[in-house]
Subunit: 332 residues, 2 copies
């Protein structure tokens, strides 16, 4: 199995990507190979600093350009055809790689994935899933930012996308799917969530547990929570900052009290890097988006998630899950 | 100055309210008087346990009914005219009290305030303001849940409401007002925020600092942040739970390490009770909504906020701020 890894994505590219790829190859399934996508000379120089690299399973695919924050996401495919994002996704499209992982511009990875891998038949709006740390196992939030101005049927589709992801990647046989809302009662909400609640309630094949409020997510009451991409994006960014803020306050206290404390376990639970990136769900291939400040560990975990998505046949499962249901909606 | 305090609102009513009222009378401006609104016999029995109560400044207004979670908010005014919420707000309406404070059902306080105190001329949508603890001083978030399905001009009005609140209650001469969005660039957002950004940018009399993302709020980059009531409500509830969750994780670690730590300062910063309730802004009177689980301290702080709102002439300021601008919008 070959994972194409954008080697020009992180703020510390390509060092973080190269180190992460090597970690993945050493620690994960020996059937995995990684294709580093980026400038050949730069990557060779970076690899030279890693004598421990398992060279037979580590390849380079040359891409001389790098997408930057100033590139308009939608124009990357046309304006930067030799960028690591475009080259990497084309490897997947051509069947030369089984999945793509990138810590580059979220917008550019998303737009180029949509253009290259195309939405699966029946998927109106592919969505970004993000794993939120909770009191229990993590909760998949989607859409985390791919779509603003959603309609109720889009939220229903997000539920199906999340259902499959939770089964295939989180190992949950019958994932609890919830709708993010401002009250638990079915009659609470705005136009979007009122409509989505009705659709979700009557949808087949979903373990819909009803509305959840902002405060419920963290209690671990559901495995998948669906919302509009605007709300999801605001919430996701807010989560990180509140956790950091709270830890910061506590650290200051610890300093005052001259006490030392091992916070590693706390940081591990709250660390996004543990969860291995956010998948773009609903396109015809595996595409995983990582933070721009991803550590080698985060890259390694994203490669692991990509490999599991491939191994589990997630894309096929999504195609099967979504297609007939969408037709059902259209007929209705 | 008389503050009408719903004595049947908290989960621990009337004990928390009575204790909070007495704290307020002892600690705040001696010109303040509190009218406890609730069942007379119950309140007299509760007061009998407080020999320290300054009886001359503590009054009772009898209301035999209590609004419960099962009462539909909009029907309370009609179905429970003798409830503490309706009786208390009618005292304000009749000029027998200058402000109302309640820890009862948010929906019922809101609906009854709207009906009794009426929206100020030109205010299309009164909004609930909520103070979020941040790295700097608290940030006022509005709307925190009064209005879902907002239009751009509603968000503009929230900005004006928040502007006055920040001036009068937070003592900020030129409050920085921001729009909650999924990107800092003006061209980012959904239909609502794109439209609101345009209105806010060209609005007079506001220190509009542009879009902020979920992660920026906590950094203290603005004094007021406006958003749709759906997003605001989800965010507010999420905030509390993430902070609690993070503290919980750290506490567990502290236990493991057998160390003791004084977390009082941390809890103080993260404690909503410190901030004294959420004002309903844009109605013809002062109405402050508190948590159902408010402590006496939280009640005392809400009375303090109510008193400052009265003293500063907040309602008059809002009327002046909003009215001409709305006319301007209508002419446009």
């Amino acid at each position: 199995m070959r994972i194409a890894l954008d080697a020009m994505g992180t703020d510390a590219a390509p060092a973080a990507e190269v180190a992460g790829a090597i970690e993945a190859l050493h620690e994960l399934d020996p059937a995995i190979e990684v294709v580093l996508v980026g400038d050949q000379a730069t990557l060779e120089a970076s690899l030279a600093r890693h004598p421990e690299a398992p060279v037979g399973r580590l390849h380079i695919s040359h891409a001389r350009d790098r997408v930057t924050a100033s590139d308009a996401p939608a124009s990357v495919i046309r304006r930067k055809p030799n960028s690591s994002i475009v080259v990497g996704l084309k490897l997947v499209k051509a069947g030369e790689a089984d999945a793509f992982v990138s810590a580059g511009s979220t917008g550019a990875v998303m737009a180029t994935s949509l253009f290259t891998l195309r939405p699966l038949p029946g998927v109106a709006r592919p969505a970004i899933g993000a794993l939120l740390p909770t009191a229990e196992r993590p909760c998949l939030l989607l859409d985390a930012g791919a779509n603003v101005d959603c309609k109720p049927q889009h939220l229903l589709q997000f539920a199906h996308l999340g259902h499959v992801y939770a089964q295939d990647l989180m190992g949950i046989a019958n994932p609890r799917v919830a709708l993010l809302n401002i009250g638990e009662e079915p009659e609470k909400g705005d136009e979007l969530t009122l409509g989505a609640h009705r659709l979700l309630k009557s949808a087949g094949g979903l373990n819909f547990v009803g509305n959840v409020e902002g405060r419920d997510i963290i209690q671990g009451v559901c495995d998948v929570v669906v919302c509009d991409g605007f709300v999801g994006n605001v919430l996701l960014k807010f989560y990180e900052s509140v956790a950091e803020f709270t830890i910061g306050l506590l650290k200051k206290e610890l300093k005052h009290s001259h006490e030392q404390l091992n916070l590693e376990e706390v940081f591990r639970i709250l660390d996004y890097a543990e969860y291995g990136g956010a998948p773009l769900l609903g396109v015809g291939g595996v595409s995983i988006i990582c933070h721009g400040e991803s550590s080698p560990r985060a890259i390694r975990n994203a490669v692991a998630v990509a490999a599991q998505a491939v191994r589990s046949g997630m894309v096929t499962h999504i195609a099967r899950e979504v297609s007939p249901r969408v037709n059902h909606q259209e007929r209705a």
